[in-house]
Symmetry: C2
Subunit: 187 residues, 2 copies
DNA sequence: GGATTTCGCTACTAGAAGTATCGATACCGA
DNA sequence: TCGGTATCGATACTTCTAGTAGCGAAATCC
């Protein structure tokens, strides 16, 4: 039971801090080449690490991209005391801004495709990426889980569909329309 | 200039009519294995044709899947004299029903992913799959191109996002909510 | 029957995911 | 200072898949 409260570092060479470099290289490469042609070899080269190092940290290309998305999205920046309409607008514009960033939409769509045929990856995607936002929004909006999931489907689905069809982010006027449409859904 | 008006068949062995079998095999295989693992070899085997026959008709896997989607969606069944709200409801429920069919959502998401990094495929997708619906809806709804494209993004994007996240089609109650929400958008 | 085109089949190339191995390296504790 | 341990980079490898090339056989028209 000794040192049970001392979380001393495990022995051996510590991991070098290259996660950020790998994430940046991943988004950059996916942005430039698309999900399919963004090979792990190229990502590793651009990050300046060996491919084996990547596979030591993430079990598959899909898992790497998902981790990259989780890192890129981060927590929802909600203001204190905001109205429900304001919360909704902030959330939508935050999502739109993230998806506009280079590589994010392509990475998202790619993981999506892999997830449909891979329940384990779908679980990661749902748990690590969607659930944090769902929980925060249920609390901030006072809406049911079903209702919040519906909003997420509409917002993220719409933004991704536009990126997939046109290759460009949704124009500001259409994002405004999305905000208005969904705000009307608040009871 | 002779026989300029006689579109007689070109000589040589005619193509055997296996398109329907190939489309069925494609959707079945994609439904079972997902887009990535649905290889052209397997699709050809399940359709009972040689892989080379498939590549004689469609230039790439993405083009095959897109053709498959175009075939599966077909024309929008609009009633004569329907109101704009009825047209919208019909279109949404028609899209939801098609995306529910086995393999359609997985195929759609896969083509989407490939399209983001492949402008030629994106062009095929936009022209052959989206434009027919867009034109019919612009006419039937009397809305602008921008507006109709926005509706398509919302409806198809939402339905696909739900399929991707859960692996299941959207429940009837949520489809109803989608119909109501978008009908409110009609001016 | 001859010309033409598609068919199935086999073999092939190119490229990517993921694995195995090994010497070198960085940190910890004694 | 030195041994233990875990990571690093590098290389080579296996497996799988998209897509191509070339062949003889079959189907249709004239």
């Amino acid at each position: 039971m000794a040192r049970a409260t001392t979380p001393s570092r495990s022995p051996g060479r510590p991991r070098s801090s290259v996660d950020a470099a790998v994430f940046a290289a991943t988004l950059s490469t996916v942005h430039e080449l698309g999900y399919t042609r963004a090979t792990v070899d190229r990502i590793a080269a651009e990050a300046g690490v060996a491919k084996t190092t990547i596979y030591r940290r993430w079990p598959s290309k899909g898992a790497l991209i998902t981790a990259c998305l989780v890192d890129a999205f981060g927590p929802l920046p909600l203001k204190e005391g905001a109205s429900r309409a304001e919360v909704m607008e902030t959330a939508i514009r935050y999502g739109a801004a993230r998806i506009t960033e280079p590589g994010i939409a392509a990475a998202f769509a790619g993981v999506f495709t892999d997830a449909i045929g891979d329940p384990a990856l779908r679980e990661i995607l749902s748990t690590q990426l969607q659930d944090p936002y769902r929980l925060v929004l249920q609390e901030a909006l006072g809406e049911s889980e079903q209702r919040v999931l519906f909003f997420v489907d509409v917002v993220i689905g719409t933004l991704l569909h536009r990126m997939g069809m046109t290759g460009e982010p949704m124009a500001a006027a259409d994002v405004d329309a999305l905000v208005t449409m969904i705000q009307r859904e608040l009871t």
